[in-house]
């Protein structure tokens, strides 16, 4: 009996480790039922993040052989800092949806960037600024912050924090544009790409 339990925990551990290494870079699903599995998740997240930071070191450091041990130690330290500040969450990345999100981001950036540029250059200064309240579906926490940061990069919309409820107060240069619909489309895509749905 006890042996079976042991095996199950081991299996959960292994599965969590595999998941962490293979499919879900950066953030991974935590399983609250087993403490050791949670530990494995943590270890897995640490390993994935350390690998990411080491890759970053290689990128900025280039091909300096002597620096590799230093880079490795730094990557471990950075992933320790990262885990302290941001414990492994329940997000998981879906590469295809992420690609779609990136494509939409690029297209929207250029389109609305051109639009803001046109408004700036137009002698009549055609602005219709104001706030709209957009009810957020994504739960409070890291995912919501990430989405707010994402939407604040798109020209035309500027999240200014939430009101008393869960509505995001967005400042727009032109309130007559379909801002809410755009935001809803982006939020769906964002939630799918990062596994918040």
């Amino acid at each position: 009996m006890s042996r079976t339990i042991e095996l199950t925990t081991e299996a959960a551990k292994f599965a969590a480790l595999l998941q962490a290494w293979g499919l879900q870079p950066f953030m991974i699903e935590s399983s609250p039922d087993s403490r050791s599995a949670a530990g494995a998740v943590r270890f897995g997240a640490a390993a994935v993040r350390a690998a990411a930071f080491f890759a970053f070191w290689l990128m900025i450091g280039g091909n300096d052989l002597l620096g590799l041990p230093v880079g490795l130690a730094t990557a471990v330290a950075a992933s320790f800092v990262s885990l302290r500040l941001m414990p492994p969450g329940r997000a998981k990345i879906r590469p295809l949806s992420l690609l779609a999100l990136t494509a939409r981001f690029a297209r929207q950036s250029v389109i609305s960037g051109l639009e803001v540029a046109w408004r700036a250059f137009d002698p009549r200064l055609p602005l219709n600024p104001g706030f709209i309240a957009y009810p957020l579906r994504i739960a409070p926490g890291g995912g919501r912050s990430a989405f707010c940061a994402f939407s604040s990069l798109l020209p035309g919309t500027l999240p200014t924090g939430t009101d008393a409820g869960d509505a995001l107060l967005v400042h727009c240069l032109d309130v007559s544009r379909p801002v809410s619909a755009d935001l809803a489309a982006e939020e769906s895509l964002f939630m799918r790409a990062l596994g918040y749905d």
């Binding site: 970053f56 290689l58 990128m59 900025i60 280039g62 091909n63 950036s109 250029v110 609305s112 960037g113 803001v116 540029a117 408004r119 700036a120 250059f121 200064l125 602005l127 600024p129 104001g130 706030f131 309240a133 707010c148 940061a149 994402f150 604040s152 990069l153 798109l154 020209p155 035309g156 500027l158 999240p159 200014t160 924090g161 009101d163 107060l169 400042h171 240069l173």
Partner: protein, 107 residues
């Protein structure tokens, strides 16, 4: 370097310069701080994106290109955060002003 690549690089950097110019014009012409924030943080970031794109074409090797992308990403992150913080501060200030004037806060 091939001519086509140079041409692409020149074009992308020029487009980036255009967006920076538009952002600056917006910064000077838009009527209130929140609108000016739009011009400053977003259109400028778009300009930076195009300039980075143009420079990637001229970068030496993959590492140089990735470094440029990392710079762009960090500037985006900083821009997103500061835009939200400033916008938040302005809205709260306006709300307090509206409340003390007896009006309802903008929503």
């Amino acid at each position: 370097m091939s001519g086509a690549l140079d041409l692409f690089s020149i074009a992308a950097i020029s487009v980036g310069g255009f967006f920076f110019l538009a952002g600056t014009v917006g910064l000077l012409r838009f009527p209130d701080p929140l609108c000016r924030l739009h011009a400053l943080t977003k259109v400028d970031n778009l300009g930076l994106g195009f300039i980075v794109l143009g420079l990637i074409a001229r970068s030496d090797g993959v590492f140089g290109a990735l470094k440029l992308v990392a710079i762009w990403a960090l500037v985006q992150l900083a821009g997103a955060t500061s835009a939200q913080l400033i916008a938040r501060a302005i809205r709260r200030k306006e709300q307090i002003g509206a409340k003390s004037a007896g009006g309802s806060p903008a929503a």
